[in-house]
């Protein structure tokens, strides 16, 4: 058993976040957030814009430091987890480096951890297989479509087998068809790797299709409005036409409506 297996993946205690505290542009982004995410869970953060969902993700990832409360990841502080390189991140913008070939992009976090060239090569080939881009290792990112770039970004985030994957609207810039395809791929990868995923989205159907649990946030300042359990079993393309899927989506939609965020 790996270290920290007895701890929840993410524990958020009374977290608040105020930007520009004491200054003229003071904004309370989050207030009194308590949250526990179990190891291996797929949790989605959803809410209207301004609810602080991306901020919460960045607090978990220690890219921001909370002004109140604390965050721990697998029993360690978020800061220790970041410096210990415990998690991978995927953004809406694939964020691949143009100057590195696809393979070298996937190997970047491994390089930073001092892996040998042969180990890196073996792992990046494996990752390319996982995201079904075996043929594209020697391409440059700009030679790939948006969906393919995002798959490389996921492969990069998973290359060092992080126990926690933080995703900030990773499919937000993709067209509907590509998006649904990528959601299926992500669930397959999640199933194969057993990693814990925290996923930010503003799409109701995406939240319903992907998650074990959906955290609905209310805006200004962001607070946890409700937590919705979703149990759809193994997802297949048919799941999207399943009545349970629709009822989960309806529950999420109603929660969002009550916080003033339904589109």
């Amino acid at each position: 058993m790996s270290k920290g297996a007895d701890f929840p993946a993410v524990q958020v205690n009374g977290v608040g976040m105020v930007f520009n505290k004491g200054a003229t542009g003071e904004v309370a982004a989050l207030d009194g957030i308590d949250l526990t995410i179990r190891a291996g869970e797929f949790v989605t953060l959803i809410g209207p814009s301004g609810c602080g969902k991306s901020t919460l993700l960045r607090l978990i990832g220690d890219l921001l430091t909370p002004t109140a409360g604390d965050v721990s990841v697998f029993g360690r502080s978020a800061h220790e987890s970041r410096t210990g390189q415990d998690y991978g991140m995927v953004f809406q913008h694939a964020g691949l480096f143009d100057w590195r070939k696809v393979k070298a992009n996937i190997e970047l976090p491994l390089e930073l951890r001092g892996w040998s060239r042969s180990d890196r090569g073996a792992r990046s080939s494996e990752m390319l297989g996982l995201v079904k881009l075996d043929e594209f290792g020697d391409h440059y990112p700009r030679q790939l479509s948006g969906g393919m770039q995002q798959r490389v970004s996921i492969a990069r985030a998973l290359s060092f087998q992080p126990r926690l994957l933080l995703m900030d609207e990773p499919f937000g810039a993709l067209d509907e068809m590509t998006r649904e395809h990528m959601q299926g791929e992500l669930l397959r990868i999640w199933g194969e790797t057993g990693t814990t995923v925290v996923f930010v989205t503003h799409s109701i159907s995406e939240a319903a299709f992907l998650s074990n649990r959906v955290i609905v946030l209310s805006p200004r300042p962001g607070r946890v409005h409700s937590i919705i359990d979703v149990d759809l079993g193994d997802r297949t393309p048919d799941t999207r036409e399943d009545p349970d899927f629709f009822s989960a989506a309806t529950t999420i939609r109603e929660a969002l409506r009550s916080v003033g965020g339904a589109e």
Partner: protein
């Protein structure tokens, strides 16, 4: 692959060669037909014969001026790029220096040449070199600093998520990101270094440099020889511009692979 690319490039050069050659023929014809006097516009053939006759002098002058331009260019590039890295790393420096550099860059620096002659003497190469360095430094500094700082915030966050330090971010993200900006500056400053060297030479100094060869020949109404010297100067400028393009290609293979920066929308292959 490489031969094909070579053939494609040769073919791309074709029209320019035809137009250039046609231009010379028109020029020659116009001077002959309209009887334009040689001191207003010498015939290309007169310039060419002067180029051959004066070749030892011109070659030497081209070398001397080229030496000043290239050394000034290299020092200016090195200084500009290095300072850009420091100012990116230390914000206070950046906020203080960048607006100042932009302002100085907007001033006609070559106008300083006579002052530099007084400061650094007119017998050596230092005063003319200083003009070249000053002219090259600012565009390189400003562009490189822009490329080092204009990085997508997600890319910086990503590096932070890997617990990468500032120096690693500089090496892995900022410097490669700045390369296209730096290359743009190179394209501008490479020919500019020759211009700066020659204009600086107009203000005096040893007589064996292109600028002085042009002014003294023009002074004696030997316009064909002056034009021959200008041709040498153009050749040096073109050579440096070509070198800048080569550096651009060699340092950014990914741009070549995607056929330039304009092809970021490749056909999707999603199913």
């Amino acid at each position: 692959m490489n031969t094909r690319r070579f053939v494609e490039q040769a073919r791309a050069l074709g029209p320019a060669l035809v137009v250039g050659l046609g231009g010379f023929i028109l020029w020659e014809g116009a001077v002959r037909v309209f009887g334009i006097s040689e001191f207003l516009l010498p015939k290309p053939t007169s310039i060419l014969s002067e180029l051959v006759a004066q070749w030892p002098v011109l070659r030497h002058a081209g070398w001397e001026t080229g030496r000043i331009a290239v050394s000034g260019l290299l020092i200016g590039i090195l200084a500009g790029a290095t300072l850009a890295m420091f100012t990116t790393r230390f914000r206070v420096l950046n906020e203080g220096l960048t607006p100042l550099a932009v302002a100085v860059n907007a001033t006609p620096i070559v106008a300083l040449a006579p002052i530099f002659n007084a400061w650094f003497g007119i017998t050596g190469i230092l005063s003319n070199q200083a003009v070249v360095i000053a002219v090259v430094f600012f565009p390189v500094f400003i562009n490189t600093a822009k490329g080092l700082t204009e990085v997508h915030p997600d890319e910086i966050e990503l590096m932070h998520s890997y617990a990468a330090g500032e120096w690693t971010i500089m090496r892995e993200v900022r410097i490669p990101n700045a390369l296209p900006f730096f290359a743009n500056a190179l394209r501008v400053v490479a020919p500019l270094s020759v211009i700066a060297a020659i204009v600086a030479e107009y203000f005096g100094g040893p007589q064996d440099r292109i600028g002085n060869v042009i002014t003294s020949n023009a002074g004696f109404a030997r316009y064909d020889a002056a034009w021959a010297a200008i041709a040498v100067a153009s050749a040096v400028g073109l050579a440096l511009f070509a070198a800048a393009l080569l550096v651009e290609r060699v340092s950014m293979p990914w741009r070549l692979a995607v056929g330039g920066s304009d092809s970021n929308n490749n056909p999707g292959r999603e199913t």
